[in-house]
Symmetry: C2
Subunit: 89 residues, 2 copies
Amino acid sequence: MSFATPIGIVAALLTTFGFVPQIIKLLRTRKTDGVSAIMVVQIAAGLLLWVIYGILRDDFIIIIANTIGFLLAITTLMLYLIFKNRSAD
Amino acid sequence: MSFATPIGIVAALLTTFGFVPQIIKLLRTRKTDGVSAIMVVQIAAGLLLWVIYGILRDDFIIIIANTIGFLLAITTLMLYLIFKNRSAD
C-alpha cells in the first residue's frame, strides 16, 4: 500500500459523506433559507452520472462511493422540500 | 472514445462545479441561515486531500478537477463567513 492510498480513502470518505452535516443541520433547525436547491440537484445529477459511469466501466469503487453520495444528496433534497413547504405555510 | 467517456465528463463537470449555484445564491440573498458550514469545510478538506492524492499518483485530471472544486468550496466558505458576520451585526 502506497502513501497515497490512505489519503485517497480519507478524501473519498470526506467527500462521499459531504452532505451529512447539511442533513443534520436541516433536521435540527428545519431552516432551508440560504441553502441552494440547485446545488443539491446539480450534485445529485452529477453523482448519478458517476454511478452510470462506474457501471459502464465496471468499477465497483466508483459505483459504491457515488451511490452513497447520491442517496445522501437525495435525502438532503427531500428534507429541503419538506421544510421549505412547511415554512411557506 | 467509449460511451462511458462523455458521461464521465458531464458527471465530472456537474460535481466539480457543484458549489457554483450555492455561491450565486449567497451573493444574491446574502443569507447563510440553513447552510451547513461544516458541510463546506468537510468537502473542502476532502477535495484538498483529493488534490494531494492526485499529486502523489501523478494524475493530472484528478489534480485539476479537485483544485477547481477546492477553490469553489473555499469561495463558498469565505462568502458564508462574510455574510454570517454581517447578519450578526
